[in-house]
């Protein structure tokens, strides 16, 4: 992550809230509330970063925002059919699957996307109820409110989970 290396003048171009979140908590996702469910709005300076933030947001919901250390790595490849919305659902579903089967939680992601594939490295550790607390069990990633917006500051993904 090269966030710390950004030139200081960039601060004036971002809303104060964004600045605060980015530098205090190192993340740029927000939790979206919904009566029965919960979602995230994840922003990154490009598609890859937005995908990584969406994943960070999802694990923040699962672990109630606790710190996740990078002790293990998983390499992930997902076929890209050309539909970015389907790709983000597949990406988060894949992480959810690994979480469920291997009891891992992830906090750091490097993502790259080309025409054919998404390839990523997810870093994290074994879920420990004592250490990571207890957030919410996410059943699935849904297509509701699913939206990927490209704008001046980068990319924003809105996505809702079934819990």
């Amino acid at each position: 992550m090269d966030r710390e290396k950004k030139p200081p003048h960039l601060f004036f171009h971002v809303p104060p809230q964004y600045f605060y979140k980015r530098w205090l908590f190192e993340h740029v996702y927000e939790i979206i509330e919904h009566t029965a469910d919960v979602g995230i709005r994840a922003t990154g300076k490009n598609m890859e970063e937005a995908f990584a933030e969406a994943a960070r947001g999802m694990f923040a919901i699962i672990t109630n925002g606790s710190t996740i250390e990078s002790k293990v790595e998983r390499h992930i490849t997902i076929a890209h059919t050309g539909d970015m919305e389907l790709l983000v659902v597949d990406w988060l579903s894949e992480l959810l699957y690994i979480h469920d089967v291997e009891h891992l939680v992830f906090g750091d992601f490097s993502v790259s996307i080309d025409e054919k594939n998404l390839t990523a490295t997810a870093r994290g550790e074994t879920y420990d109820r004592k250490k990571h607390g207890y957030g919410v069990e996410i059943k699935a990633v849904t297509y509701h409110i699913l939206e990927i917006q490209t704008h001046k500051k980068g990319v924003t993904i809105n996505i809702l989970f079934d819990i």
Binding site: E33, A36, I62, D90, Y134, G135, V136, K139, Y143
Partner: protein
């Protein structure tokens, strides 16, 4: 606020006429839609977009009769929660959005011959703590038993029978489960490796969220004759289990939803909402979903069957009396997220239909052949769980419910988001309040206690009274919790 037309067409019945075109003018209803509600509830029903979703369901190819919503209607993915729709078994479509992610989420009720007087607070606490120890619960709760792939395939195709044959519970239990705990159409060949891996590590676990295990006291009997036949009486201790198909079912839904997303394009199906993704029942994709969904349903029945065995063991351990001696028989087991191939009469003609019930419970009356012989004179027991610390209901199915293809409500439904609930209450407080009401709760975490606070839910009694008033299911008994195990 939804502002479409809702015409009262009878007591507890509101119709969205077939002429309604939708907020975005993109809905062409094939049949009218009906929402079951009382006059008081209808304003809150309009608050979220759920009525629009019922109208959207009415656009599905091959839909028969009417698109319907039960009194606990609220917004869901695709279908609203509380949604019921039947599609023709030849010409219709099948939609995972009409079933939900937690396939065969359901409820099971176990009776005992204990009365409230037999268990003091201390015994209840011991029982709850023992249940908490024996039944894995909470986020990422994993199985006590690790299955091989071959064993898991058996679970997926045999359902509760697999559990009984492997020593979980009694042979006679199967008679008192909807479908006898197994959908024959299951074919594990249509279930992905991922779903199987998730299943392997989670079979025999309660999970989290709104799932629970409760020791309840029968507080009130409304229908003494039906209660007698069901083996339930006032002040009796009963145990309620509310859980589903866990990650296995969620993965099956995720996988097939993805396939059907593309099938919609392939078959040129026009939908007002992406989440109504579906395929013709006779198509490869439609058949594959139905076979896989049946596997998830079977997984859930096996899951609840294993939990029942641990519930019986827990009682034996704490009370020092055998489960058979304690008369711990199953009253019934219902699923409330499912699609089933059933025969129903439509305009005087018997037809085979795929009945989608999403957050709706089957409610078959005495006429139906599917219900256990023992209950043939009364109708099928319908189990409606309340939410943590409130109350639950035992009802009976009716022949009137044929107008909803044998369906009724399933529970309360949230009125407040989990985040909002966490801000408003602290889990410790909720536990103390429950304690004051004489309820002992053991949860995996305090935040779950806050999220699942009873005040975050609609009043289950109003939902049940509406279903009763409409004749879809009739009240038999009301149960209140004494002890709660929460995931």
């Amino acid at each position: 606020m939804w502002n479409g037309p809702l015409n009262k067409i009878g007591p507890y019945r509101y119709e969205i006429p077939k002429t309604y075109r939708g907020i975005k003018n993109n809905i062409t209803m094939r049949v009218p839609a009906v929402i079951y509600a009382n006059d008081q509830m209808i304003s809150s029903v309009k608050k979220d977009n759920a009525p629009e979703q019922v109208a959207a369901v009415a656009t599905l190819q091959g839909i028969v009769g009417r698109a319907m919503a039960m009194p606990d209607i609220h917004w869901g993915y695709g279908f609203p929660i509380g949604g019921v729709a039947a599609t023709d078994a030849e010409e219709g479509v099948i939609s995972p959005g009409g079933v939900g992610f937690d396939i065969n989420c359901g409820v099971r009720l176990v009776r005992t011959n204990l009365t409230a007087g037999d268990l003091d607070r201390n015994k209840i606490k011991q029982l709850v703590d023992e249940l908490f120890k024996n039944v894995p619960s909470g986020v990422g709760s994993s199985a006590r038993v690790k299955l091989s792939r071959a064993q898991l395939d058996e679970v997926l195709e045999m359902g509760a029978r697999w559990a009984v044959e492997n020593g979980y519970g009694w042979e006679e239990d199967l008679e008192f489960l909807e479908e006898n705990g197994c959908m024959e159409s299951a074919d594990a060949g249509h279930v992905s490796d991922k779903a199987k891996e998730r299943g392997k590590v989670q079979v025999g676990s309660l999970g989290a969220g709104n799932h629970f295990l409760e020791i309840q006291r029968v507080a009130e009997i409304f229908d003494p004759e039906a209660a007698r036949v069901y083996g339930v009486e006032k002040d009796q201790i009963v145990v309620m289990i509310h859980t589903g198909s866990r990650g296995c079912g969620h993965q099956i839904c995720t996988d097939h939803l993805r396939v059907l997303e593309e099938a919609v394009r392939k078959y040129n199906i026009r939908l007002p909402d992406r989440q109504l993704a579906c395929a013709p029942v006779k198509s490869r994709e439609g058949e594959s979903y139905f076979k896989a969904m049946a596997c998830a349903a079977n997984f859930a029945w096996a899951n609840r069957q294993m939990i029942v065995d641990w519930v019986r063991q827990s009682f034996e351990n704490v009370l020092g009396t055998g489960a058979e001696e304690l008369d711990m028989h199953i009253v019934y087991d219902v699923c409330h997220n499912i699609a089933k191939l059933e025969e129903h009469e439509v305009d005087g003609e018997k037809r085979m239909l795929y009945v989608h019930r999403k957050g709706a419970t089957r409610s078959f009356g005495p006429k139906r052949k599917e219900i256990p012989q023992k209950y043939a004179s009364i109708g099928q027991p319908v189990l409606i769980p309340g939410d943590m610390g409130t109350e639950s209901y035992l009802l009976k199915g009716t022949d009137t419910a044929e107008e909803t293809f044998g369906s009724t409500c399933h529970g309360a439904g949230r009125v407040m988001s989990r985040q909002a609930a966490k801000r408003q209450w602290r889990g410790e407080e909720i536990a103390r309040k429950l304690q004051q009401k004489g309820i002992y709760a053991h949860a995996a975490s305090w935040s779950v206690m806050a999220e699942e606070s009873p005040d975050a839910y609609k009043d289950v009694s109003m939902v049940v009274d509406t279903a009763h008033g409409a004749g879809l299911s009739l009240k038999v008994a009301r149960m209140v919790p004494l002890g709660v195990v929460k995931g």
